[in-house]
Symmetry: D2
Subunit: 407 residues, 4 copies
């Protein structure tokens, strides 16, 4: 395993850190205020467009995208090169969108780059890559356990030259973004085919008749700008040319997009954990109780030491997964991807929890980013599949040779 | 230890459960809708007044109050009698206020019953006991670690017949309640006295000039009706007759109120934990993934078993603390009160966390009470003093005999 | 729930504590030395017989036994009365045998009192009650998972007036005791009967031809005097009159003995935990590192506080189980018995582990009882069934109403 | 970070694995039997000398030693090259001694290579490198907390051409080895010098008059062949030429030896953890309870998945520390060394604990290596300094920039 940073990755880290210090972190309070003033959590704060313009200009744009031929703005960084950049992005809620590296758009862009036709790319991918539009990925359904992807119930029926779509999705991230342009929708086209050949993905423009965003789902009291929508698709019709890849290929596309998605989450989670640890250390150094700073107490020192140990470990595991994805492919890296999917949020959650504790009640409020981090890392134990499903699959792989040895 | 329920406690449990089933639980969705429709989280939802009227009528009012002579509506239940009732109240966010048993009013009412003059009682306590007004308790300050109560910096200076109050408080629960009538404010009257004789408490009517509620503090994104205010006191003047108890007695009053406050929190936390476990069991029974209900998986079964074991233990420890408070007094029960203050939220947090996990992403939204419970139990590890301070004091007591034995 | 101590329990606690201080604790080093000197871990150290004589004389004998009519020496204490006594016994490895309250003899005596014929009682029970002989309980088998009692494979075949016994047992505690007199053996008499009617128990005198104690099984390197034997039964014959209860009744007897056995273990485990906490506190007070005693460090204080909290909780849960066994019967107490079976060793293990850590390497040696406690509490998570089986059953009970409500 | 294996490391891994499979693992039962038969745990089992001869012949000898010029048998592997080999060695208790890579001899040999004079090397180091003799490292003392190395109390006084040594050591590993040749002893030569210049190390031949091994200290009931001795030094005299390095340089030598010692422990611990996980998986696959193999239960699957995740993480962290030691030096790697010192045993302990649980009571006995592993990994949380001290130092480093920023 060789994860020595390339010179372009080092140079980008430096530039990105400068951008964070000069523009992104100072923008956090402004962004919060613009949203508060607008009275609508789903309004697009003007400062975000300023950040995006600046990031584009600085060449800090689409960093996530692994394919240099996808667009002139794309450098085509390897996962090992991108990982430390994604970690830096994870330090601020604003940074991923400001650099066009935010989920689910990043995953959608990568998916479209791989599976879309030239016409689809021109219509849907190009404006995503420039940051003009936003996209949503509609997979999870309220009625079934989506941890088992074969449970998907949405119907997509071929009807002449069109697909007729009926069903209900939720946790469709991005559904309430004011710039939303398109949904990638997963549903069943072939209910009688093999279990993994029943699903397809189709592209549904956001303004297609029959598409209704019923409501936003709050996350522990937070309403995010981009939103997590419950979306009803009622007799929605799109031309058959809107299919992504081939009919029956939905499950395979879903698998292809999940690997990168999970590791991007893990990378950003490391940055979040580092920032929480910084806040913990700063507060523990400043705050005095019972005659000495909190940082002088051995239990707080244990928290700090464990945080450092565990961050080191999840970073190395993330880098190993990235290196495997770069060298032997996403499929061969599945053990490490599942491992870091489970490990990273657990570590970050402990650190954020401890950081809150040294902040006293202030840690619950929006005066510090910790409360929202606490909500966010909790969701990471479910997003892209609950930890329990990943553990089940890890155990299955681990047990395989022993099972094979049984008569 | 004898914690056999009295017949009146049993009878009240039955009546209270009926009230919960018939009125409170059905009101939860209505309450949420009324708040949402009003567009103002600090509006008092009309359904709350309906619930209060009904509770008063059913004799389920002021159940928390231990002194029967405080008011005709007060039964004067012992802690052992009240504990199972408080547990039932803890099952719904609405129930404590609906029965006039909510913090901080309950603690304020008990404090006023013990320390207020007759004039103070008539003016401030009576309308609290009937539920017409609300009160706030202003102790925590943003600039210092309030876990160490001697850190309080607010100045309360005697100036002729008045006290002149200057300082800033926050996490003043109730400060944004539309019915707010009075603040109990803790500050320093005698900065040169003994460490525990420097503080006093004064009663400050909410409309006194110079009192400004600067903002509400959200809790993990949630804005509560009663609010957690940041409150500025600038040259606020109240007559000297507004002092509570004697000058320099603030620390002693604070100590007196904290014991009951902590155990009431613990009692309600048990109810919250039981409700979360019910939700967990129901969902795990209904939800099918990979061919069987989640309840058939051994890891989910472990969660359920551990939940039952731990709820049993925190309930018994709460009952022991209650029994000691009833029989030998709050001071003698301090070990058990500190113990349950630490133990109950930790147990509830684990259960709520597991319950969320079996609910999938739905657990993060407001479709179930779990997300708000998750935020709430997290605050319980800080409210009334961070767990670390209570552990420090428990350890000090435990170590005392060994230290004494050292030369 | 009323667990107020009776006056005789209080008086016995006092007398037993005096016996512990005056005789048992001082005998610990002597006992270790006598064993070391003998060069044979299964030799019966003479000091043990001295302790037994003294305990008998002081009326501290057979305290565990709930049936006063079983023997003149038996007081017939309730479980609530015995619990604090068992806790005291748990403070020293020597105390249970010194007072004739040690497993498996206690369980065997209770079983014989309930199920043996008068002849069997005279021959086997009487000398056990006086402490002349010892007994072993042969249930667990090396070849199958004994957590599922229906897995038992030993064959007990009726052959005329005799039972013919063939099979292999292990973890037969007491098998190497020099005073061993009898095995209670569980095996299959009726392989074609209902699953819970296939097993029977028979009494097998230790000197019966065909019985061979193959070896002792060490426990984490410790060789216990009484031993945990691997025992081969090869064409062993006993008269049919040696059956305990009725043929096919083995499973029911096993169930009957397990409830008390588990709670006795839990009671003693609390005493062990208290002693470990005392050692922890003493050492932490005395030991200085980096300029202050370990007890002044906040992480050690957290350990101590958590120990006190958790001991309180397992003691209360044990008392509740005891009270239920006394008032509504062992069967009705099964939830609480399973709960405390799981909870008590987990708590004790954490405390012993922490106590070792403040003792430095000394904690691993035999200079303190902690190392052996560490081994012992680890076994408690398996003895009388692995925790996982108890959790499975607790979950099943908890889930029953939800399952019933499903169509 | 580049940890790509070199071709010689890969080739050695292959050869070492073959040696383990062909000779070491089959020898484990023989070794246990030879010790049991001898009746003396400190007898040197003949099979060990056979293994040593074979390892020497196969070129699997002194692999740990980083300096190729120290001896013809030394390859001078880097830490990155040695790590996977040490992991393989960690899979069997016999392997480290069989390959002359066992503590404390490995650390002693490295120390002598660096600090000994030519005469000292010829007399003491040469026979250690060939495996003829064994050595002990006498640092820890019973009377003081040795976690703080400045606490050392042993007196080493210059008296003409000799040093006069008085004091008591314990946990002197190797003190009871039949081949013991020399002690490296740490004590105070200059009690009035600077805190870190008071100590020196001297070489004390095992047969020097006044050296008495008082007893062996068992570890959780285990008596190891090499022994952990309590050793009394009473008026022991050695020539001044027996000093190691310079007078007053003891603390610096101790620091120099600890880095490699800790990482070697971590490397071997990973091998131990992998073997425990194999045993867990095998048993879980074979053992059936309640109608299905344990491996089919989701809680056991969670254990397995977590084990795989955590082993991956500690291996990567160990490799990072090794790489830093190779590239920037032991001192620059101190954060990572402290981190892995804490992390590796904690992970291994959880896995061994779970492995025991699926083995039932068999896991406590010597039929599987798990019980001894359980004892061993517990000691690893203390050996080379308790985890708490390492956490304290990690926290100090982490906090340094924040403290510096304070006025």
């Amino acid at each position: 395993m060789n994860i020595e940073p390339t010179s372009r990755s080092l140079e980008l880290q430096e530039r990105l850190s400068a951008f964070m210090d000069e523009r992104v972190h100072p923008a956090e309070a402004v962004h919060a205020e613009q949203l508060r003033d607008s009275g609508d959590p789903h309004r697009h704060a003007p400062i975000m467009e300023e950040l995006k313009a600046e990031a584009r200009e600085r060449g800090l744009w689409n960093l996530f995208h692994p394919h240099a031929d996808a667009h002139p703005s794309v450098l085509g960084l390897s996962n090992v090169e991108y990982a430390p950049l994604a970690e830096i992005l994870g330090r601020s809620r604003l940074a991923p969108e400001a650099t066009n590296c935010n989920a689910p758009d990043s995953g959608n862009m990568e998916t479209l780059s791989m599976f879309a036709t030239d016409e689809q790319k021109e219509r849907f991918l190009e404006p995503l890559l420039t940051g003009e539009t936003r996209s949503a990925f509609a997979m999870t359904e309220p009625a079934v356990a989506s941890s088992d992807a074969t449970n998907v119930e949405m119907r997509i029926e071929r009807d002449g030259d069109e697909y007729l779509i009926n069903g209900r999705k939720w946790w469709t991230t991005g559904a309430l973004h004011p710039n939303l342009d398109v949904f990638i929708v997963m549903g069943k086209t072939d209910p009688h085919a093999d279990r993994h050949r029943q699903q397809s993905m189709v592209l549904v423009p956001a303004d297609t008749p029959g598409v209704r965003v019923l409501r936003n789902l709050p996350v522990f009291g937070y309403e995010h700008t981009e939103g997590h929508g419950e979306v009803l698709f009622e007799n929605v019709r799109v031309p058959v040319s809107n299919i992504l890849g081939e009919q029956g290929g939905g499950f395979a596309i879903a698998q292809a997009r999940l690997g990168p998605g999970r590791i991007h989450h893990a990378m950003r989670t490391i940055g979040l954990a580092e920032r929480a640890l910084e806040l913990l250390c700063r507060r523990a150094t400043e705050r005095v109780a019972f005659g000495k700073p909190l940082a002088a107490r051995a239990n707080v020192q244990d928290w700090i030491a464990n945080a450092r140990i565990e961050i080191e470990m999840i970073r190395l595991l993330t880098m190993k997964a990235a290196w495997l994805m770069d060298t032997v492919g996403n499929k061969q890296a599945k053990t490490e991807i599942a491992a870091i999917k489970v490990a990273a949020p657990a570590v970050a959650q402990r650190i954020v929890d401890n950081a809150i504790q040294v902040h006293g009640a202030a840690g619950f409020s929006d005066d510090f980013p910790l409360a929202e981090m606490y909500a966010h890392v909790r969701t990471m134990r479910m997003v892209d599949g609950p930890d329990e499903v990943h553990r089940m699959q890890l155990a299955r792989q681990e047990l395989a040779p022993y099972r094979a040895a049984r008569p």
